[in-house]
């Protein structure tokens, strides 16, 4: 094992010289102390300040939602023809953010990418909270919020009606609610052993009861672990196609319509790539400061950040390719409406949104070709912010430009967001960060059990004893 003071360069690119995933001379106990210490230490002032800010934004969101429900959706800038404005932009944005968590926990698990263990809990929490934010917007976008349950196939005594299952909007209901449910139980299942660790360590009576209930009496029995691991693998196998299907179905909302700029077959893969891109962007945005503040640098090493940067580079290039391919097909397809839609996106009244999108999503991640950018946390943080902004604008460009300029010039109309629109966008960040700060304070933010299973094993007396070694073999 490495000694505590030894400096390990975790970003060596030599494949034969893999650096450990956990550095700093940790053993199992010190990992527990490191992670649980975040929950057990005194609540830092910064947490209170952050919570206060998030709560005030959340309060604003709540007030605006109340205002919306009591007044009607006219408080938004949505109009005819732009009847999908900020609410849908925000919905797609937040659903996209959510994808990185499931991708890290499911697809990287299936690919045996052990580095995921340090960041997956964090990212999964991000998924859940992002999906909560996402779910809010379609719910309030339906106008009469109090009959939202008409979306579900419930036997209706008064109406004798059923939902239309061939509508992509209803597919969305199923996709997003399934995604939220599966992500939640996946996240929770992953947390059970760590909640048991917290339970066994805490001295606070109330917390002990809460953690006891949440950890369901987990003991760490090998027989339980065996089934647990099988369950985790099955979860990953189910969540991997699910995560791809969700954003595909979100893209169907657009692609199944006939609108120029929407009616394209590239949408499903393009949306999924964009979702992964934005999700990893948000992972980086949250992880860079978190590893600094919570002293997680030994667990979340530079190599982890570098890997995330590489994924950002790859998905950012995919998104860039999709932008180019949309343009190409619009020209090659010879459909003049399609051609106009794309020229109008880049040079029409919303040119600024388009170029913000391109520069943030395509150009900024290209910096990650340079190793220095992949290993400088503050630079990654800045680029990840750009990615978040760019991906929000991508959804804005797709949603608004196509609606504002469709086939008939006589049915054109510009979209002007109202202060309520802006307030809800900002307020949704308040909701997200409130949930996140609560989780950081009370939950296990690193999957301790998983990290312990991939860290180097400590010195074992078995290997010193030839007899025991023979038995073991």
């Amino acid at each position: 094992m490495a000694t505590v003071n030894e400096v390990i360069d975790t970003t060596i690119d030599d494949p034969g010289n893999r650096t450990p995933l956990v550095i700093g001379g940790h053993d199992y106990g010190s990992i527990t102390r490191l992670v649980c210490g975040i929950n057990e230490s005194k609540t830092p002032i910064a947490w209170y300040i952050g919570m206060l800010m998030s709560l005030s934004l959340l309060g604003m969101l709540g007030a605006l939602v109340g205002y919306l429900i009591f007044t009607g959706v006219g408080v938004w800038g949505n109009n005819n023809p732009v009847y999908w404005g900020f609410p849908i932009v925000n919905f797609v944005f937040w659903v996209g953010i959510g994808h990185a968590g499931t991708l890290i926990s499911a697809i990287l698990f299936i690919f045996r990418q052990n580095w995921r263990t340090s960041i997956n809990r964090f990212a999964e929490a991000m998924t859940i909270f992002a999906v909560v934010c996402a779910g809010l917007f379609p719910a309030i976008h339906i106008g009469r919020v109090w009959v939202f349950y008409w979306l579900f196939p419930l036997p209706s005594l008064q109406l004798a009606m059923w939902p239309q299952f061939r509508s992509p909007l209803l597919w969305d209901v199923f996709a997003v609610s399934t995604y939220a449910t599966v992500s939640l139980i996946f996240w929770y299942t992953g947390m059970i052993p760590d909640l048991a660790t917290l339970r066994d360590r805490t001295n606070n009576k109330i917390l002990r009861i809460v953690y006891s209930i949440l950890s369901l009496g987990w003991t760490g029995s090998a027989r339980a672990w065996s089934r647990y691991e099988k369950a985790y693998t099955l979860f990953a196998a189910l969540a991997a196609p699910l995560v791809l299907s969700v954003h595909t179905i979100v893209s169907f909302d657009f692609a199944v319509s006939q609108l120029p700029g929407w009616h394209t077959t590239i949408f499903p893969p393009y949306f999924v790539a964009g979702a992964v891109f934005s999700g990893f962007g948000m992972v980086l945005t949250l992880m860079v400061p978190a590893r600094q503040w919570f002293g997680l640098k030994d667990v979340v090493t530079l190599r982890h950040l570098e890997n995330v940067c590489k994924i950002l580079l790859a998905t950012g290039s995919m998104v860039g390719y999709a932008y180019a391919m949309e343009f190409f097909i619009a020209w090659y397809g010879g459909n003049m409406y399609e051609g106009f839609a794309f020229i109008n996106r880049a040079f029409g009244p919303y040119w600024w949104a388009y170029w913000i999108m391109v520069s943030c999503n395509v150009i900024s991640p290209q910096l990650f070709w340079f190793k220095v950018c992949r290993t400088t946390p503050w630079l990654m943080f800045v680029i990840s912010i750009f990615v978040n902004i760019g991906m929000w604008f991508e959804r804005f460009v797709i949603t608004v430009t196509s609606l504002a300029r469709d086939f008939l010039p006589s049915s054109w109309g510009m979209f002007e967001p109202t202060p309520v629109d802006y307030g809800m966008l900002i307020g949704s960040f308040g909701l997200f960060f409130t949930l996140f700060l609560l989780f950081v304070r009370f939950g296990p933010i690193v999957a301790m059990a998983e990290v312990k299973s991939v860290m180097p094993h400590p010195h074992s007396p078995v290997h010193d004893d030839p007899q025991a070694a023979a038995d073991h073999a």
Partner: protein, 490 residues
């Protein structure tokens, strides 16, 4: 937390060996299994690879449960959609069949995943006998580190091979073992306290009341109106059409507009609105109302008063004439003087006067009553290109795409749109062109409902600008622009 706290002798239920590292535990598990013990278990802070074989743990049936539930989810999705959409409440959209499988696949897929995921979660907990909050192991203080950094191996006293001393010796002889601990049964009663039972039953019964009340409300008739917490549009403060109002003497709920009045906020300068300079104040109001009246309105604007000028010729013989090369004189108003200057586009000659009695023209506004700026012209061009150019052409030659296509198809009822560069239009006052845009003429429909008055005037000024492109003289070009043109060599 420890077993010494009890007076009665607690019952031993197992022996537990503690280890500091996973490799020792694996070796120990191997040894214990080879010794023939089966009621054993290991406790580790993380999943240990190889422990299944070392301890002889059989593969779990969980994947089969998940498979079954997944298949069930698929059929649930299929059945749900078929029954609701193809049977109970069929939707017919664009004449598509009520049942079309491809469109139902996304929901089926999601339900497969949802069911399978629940099967994974509930199945795993069920097979692991979780949640079990009471476990004798939790009473061993050292065991708290089983979720931290220590490893434990237990042997149950009920194991067939269990011999008090022999088993103890076996555990004591394990390499890497740091401690051997006796585990005692939990002496507290296994039964729930009675009070919890009663409270639980009570809460369950009380919780049943609201759904039962709702159920009763749905299935029973009542003499009082149902409680409607959210009224939506059920209850509104409004008068319905075809109902009697006690408020008005005539009993009509729907109020007709009082003649000669203008509603608050609806006043617009009648010149601006009609393009006609009114002679009296009263006429203003009449025109204004006509402007807003529906087709059944009591009075008609200029067209009706001057049928000879503006009334379209839809019903006239022109419609029956299939070929466009025949003159469609009837289609043209009486005072049209010259023939069309542009015969090349198969446009019929104009100007032959129909036998209609002439009626006095209204007092048309000569020049558009708006402030003409560059922005107005731009607006006019924009609106013209959207609404007018399809028929009249971008340059106003009457050769728009619609017209070209109609002529190409030899549409018998098509009347080619007017060339805006003919004297017929050049000599018209602005007000009359405005009136034509508002109410339409011949085949052209009225755009009054579609284009705001400001924009209609803007179109008129743009039409004037278009005409200037043919009739203008070099002297009319501003000096600055003239210079630019000279530079360009034109």
């Amino acid at each position: 937390m420890s077993q010494e706290a009890n007076n009665t002798e607690p019952k031993l239920i197992g022996l537990m060996a503690q280890f500091d590292d996973p490799d020792s535990l694996l070796a120990a598990c191997e040894k214990v299994r080879k010794a023939g013990y089966t009621k054993t278990d290991a406790y580790t802070p993380f999943p240990l690879h190889g422990i299944d074989e070392a301890l002889g743990i059989k593969p779990t049936i969980l994947p089969w449960i998940v498979l079954m539930l997944g298949i069930m989810g698929g059929f649930a999705g299929l059945g749900l959609q078929y029954i609701t959409n193809a049977d109970w409440y069929p939707f017919i959209i664009s004449a598509k069949p009520v049942w079309s499988l491809p469109a139902n696949i996304p929901v089926i897929f999601e339900l497969v995943i949802l069911h399978a995921a629940f099967a994974v979660f509930i199945g795993m907990l069920f097979l692991n006998k979780l949640p079990t909050f009471s476990n004798p192991l939790f009473r061993v203080p050292e065991f708290a580190r089983a979720t931290d950094d220590k490893f434990f191996l237990t042997i149950d006293v009920n194991d067939e091979k269990y011999k008090p001393n022999k088993t103890r010796d076996l555990l004591d002889g394990l390499i890497g073992q740091t401690d051997v601990i006796e585990v005692f049964e939990d002496p507290s009663p296994a039964e729930l306290p009675k009070i919890i039972k009663f409270v639980g039953i009570g809460v369950a019964v009380v919780a049943l009341v609201p759904p039962l009340l709702l159920w009763r409300a749905y299935y029973q008739t009542s003499t009082v109106p149902r409680i409607n917490p959210i009224r939506d549009m059920d209850v509104q403060l409004r008068g319905d059409t075809q109902t009697v109002s006690p408020v008005f003497a005539d009993g009509r709920t729907m109020r007709p507009r009082i003649p000669g009045t203008v509603a608050r906020g609806e006043w617009v300068d009648p010149i601006m609105l009609t393009g006609i300079v009114p002679e009296t104040g009263e006429q203003n109001v009449l025109f204004l109302q006509d402007e807003e009246a529906t087709e059944e309105g009591t009075k008609k604007p200029a067209e009706e008063e001057n049928p000879a000028d503006d009334k379209p010729a839809e019903e006239k013989p022109a419609d029956e004439k299939p070929e466009a090369d025949k003159p469609m004189a009837e289609a043209k108003p009486a005072q049209d003087k010259p023939a069309d200057a542009n015969p090349a586009d198969a446009k019929p000659a104009e100007g032959e006067a129909p036998a209609q009695p002439e009626e006095p023209e209204p007092n048309w506004v000569k020049i558009a009553p708006i402030n003409v700026t560059r922005a107005t012209l731009e607006r006019g061009r924009n609106r013209y290109n959207i609404y007018c150019s399809v028929c009249h052409g971008l340059a106003g030659d009457g050769d728009g795409l619609v017209s070209q296509r109609a002529l190409q198809l030899e549409q018998p009822t098509w009347i080619p749109p007017t060339n805006l560069h003919t004297d017929y239009l050049l000599t018209q006052p602005d007000g009359k062109i405005y009136n034509t845009i508002t109410h339409g003429i011949r085949k052209m429909k009225g755009y009054g409902d579609q284009i705001p008055a400001e924009d209609r005037w803007a179109i008129v000024t743009y039409v004037r600008a278009l005409q200037k492109t043919r009739t203008g003289t070099p002297e009319e070009i501003p000096a600055v622009e003239m210079k630019e043109l000279e530079i360009k060599g034109q």
